[in-house]
Amino acid sequence: MKLRDYIIRRILLLIPVLIGISFITFFLSHMIGDPAAAWLGEKTIGQEEAVKAIRAAHHLDDPLPIQYFYYLNDLAHFDLGRTGRNEGGRPVIEALKDYFPATLELAILGMGFAIIIGIPLGILSAVFKDKVPDHIVRVLALVGVSMPIFWLGLILKYWFSFKFDIFPLDGRLPYTVLAPPKVTGMYTFDALLAGQFDTFFVALRHAILPSFCLGLITLAILTRMMRSSMLETLTQDFIRTARAKGLSERKVILKHALRNALTPTTTVAGIAFGGLLSGAVMTETIFAWPGIGRFSVKAIGSTDFASIMGFALLIVLFYVLSNLLVDILYVYLDPRVKYG
């Protein structure tokens, strides 16, 4: 299997990428302050000895490159260090395990919105180029791309939660509803797996506003991408051949043009998915969504190096993985793509 070798090679290539990222985040984060002082908080005042003790215990007096090697050594043992006071000092890996599914859930739903709405809009826009549907879609896409997330989030909350009370204001589930048994940690999927459809709908209703808010920019980007690649595909010779065969316009577009136009759009979607995970920082803060975005904001606020780096590494990991997934998808979309 050539494809398997390719995947293995790509996964092995992840290691240098992650080392590089850890290098950058390590040195950047260590510029923002003294973690020992942050750890002790207000108690620092007059407690020079305690601060010193903590610094000594965590090698904080060593030169930075030496500290970095301690960190790398721990990393090689899958130890991301300990969180700061916010999380009560539990291992970073545990905190990430708790928070990441919530973010992944938002990102998947956001991507779902983007694909299900964005791609058909893009096709529509291309097929009706320079006509009314195209103008409408283009304006919408432009608005979507340019809308600041924090503003959109607040507006969505104002109208759909506060004014019309269609969707809940924030959070993942109301206090009255128990979380479904944990499998993936994503409430909607877990609820489905457990067959708890009531919980599923409640969780979904909670997720709709934040995931739409998160996915809107991607939706707009996919629409524009789909429109342009569709337009380009429609000028190709094989489209003329398809028409000359007597195929209906619907078939020409949905069978012959679509699959060719999907390749560039898939590339963009793959990159955008990584962006959704990191973009969740803002959305999660607005919608009080307990994901890694909010976790990282708190970590930055409390000079919690280990958590910041853990967050960055996880994002990078998924960024690379989603691009790998796209590269694998190419094989199925375009027979000309072969790896090996």
């Binding site: 190709q236 010779d237 094989f238 003329r240 051949t241 398809a242 028409r243 000359a244 065969k245 007597g246 195929l247 209906s248 316009e249 012959h256 699959r259 060719n260 979309l333 375009d334 027979p335 000309r336």
Partner: protein, 328 residues
């Protein structure tokens, strides 16, 4: 003469571009008879392909539009048919082979899928049956190992193989008219000869009429029964293939034939060129569109458009020099 299969009358196709209206076809008249091979020859931009695409109504709007004329096929005016009926004719009664076989197939589907698609569409066959027919057609066009070719994707085959597959696809529904738009331009000479042989052979077995578009007078001589010479959106001379070489009449045809390097010095002594350039069809010359480049131009050539004049049996010219001859 045999029965007329397709009759084009006064066809005018225009392209509405930002810089102006390109009058690509300026009233084309052409009859295609059953079972004949008719060639359209002319330089790039003279409207050969536009004529072909107009016949199956594949001129893209915008910018192109067929503004006037009629194309009668099987007693129906193709230009007035609803799109749905036109789609039943495309690929079925009239099919087309394109210039670049490498780009004319969809890269993401197999050759067999693409041929079977047209069979399923027009002959209402099941996929399995259509696939069998597709393999038969590939075999028919002389492709070795047709099963393997059917399962191949376009990028896995050579240009010659693809053009054979294209012909197989075009003939799979037994069309009455096959339009071949420069079918060998993108191929090298040995493959060109094979493809031309193949088309000749297939014509005798299927009895389809062929409209062959090319800029190569050699191909015309080898393949065609009749030939129309096009210049700047007009057919300027229409004749049996023999008479066009023996007795080229329109000054443009004479120029074209003189421009072929040849050992024959009957019409001209040295390799000639036609002075000037192809006119900009947004502002075509008035009257006869060839007059600014014509060495025999008279005053009236710039004022009136010449009609059709007969210079021999089945040989017509659109030039005032032959006004004495019978009108068509």
């Amino acid at each position: 003469m045999a029965d007329v299969l397709l009759s084009i009358k006064g066809l005018k196709t225009n392209f509405y571009t930002y810089t102006g209206v390109v009058k690509a076809l300026d009233g084309i008249d052409l009859d295609i008879y059953k079972g004949e091979t008719i060639g359209l020859v002319g330089e790039t931009g003279c409207g050969k392909s536009v004529t072909a695409l107009s016949i199956i109504r594949l001129i893209q709007w915008p910018p192109g539009k067929i503004d006037e004329g009629s194309i009668t096929f099987d007693g129906k005016d193709l230009l007035k048919l609803p799109l749905r009926d036109m789609q039943k004719i495309r690929g079925n009664n009239i099919s087309m082979i394109f210039q670049e076989p490498m780009n004319a197939f969809n890269p993401v589907y197999t050759i067999g899928d693409q041929i079977a698609e047209v069979i399923m569409l027009h002959q209402k066959k099941k996929k399995k049956e259509a696939w069998q027919d597709a393999i038969e057609m590939l075999k028919f066009t002389g492709i070795p190992a047709p099963e393997r070719v059917a399962k191949s994707y376009p990028h896995e085959l050579s240009g010659g193989m693809l053009q054979r597959s294209m012909i197989a696809m075009a003939l799979s529904c037994k069309p009455k008219l096959l339009i071949a738009d420069e079918p060998t331009t993108a191929l090298d000479v040995t493959i060109e000869a094979q493809i031309l042989d193949l088309m000749k052979g297939l014509k005798t077995t299927t009895g389809a009429s062929i409209l062959l578009i090319t800029h190569d007078l050699g191909i015309i001589a080898e393949m065609c029964d009749r030939v129309g010479v096009m210049y700047a959106g007009n057919i300027v001379e229409l004749a049996d293939v023999g008479s066009i070489y023996k007795k080229p009449s329109h000054p443009y045809t004479v120029g074209l034939i003189c421009a072929i390097p040849t050992l024959d010095t009957k019409h001209c002594n040295r390799l000639a060129t036609i002075p000037g350039n192809v006119p900009n069809l947004i502002y075509p010359p008035p009257g006869c569109r060839f007059h600014p480049r014509c060495n025999k131009a008279m005053d009236r050539c710039s004022k009136e458009k010449p009609g059709w004049y007969k210079v021999g049996e089945g040989h017509y010219v659109s030039c005032f020099l032959y006004e004495g001859g019978d009108k068509k």
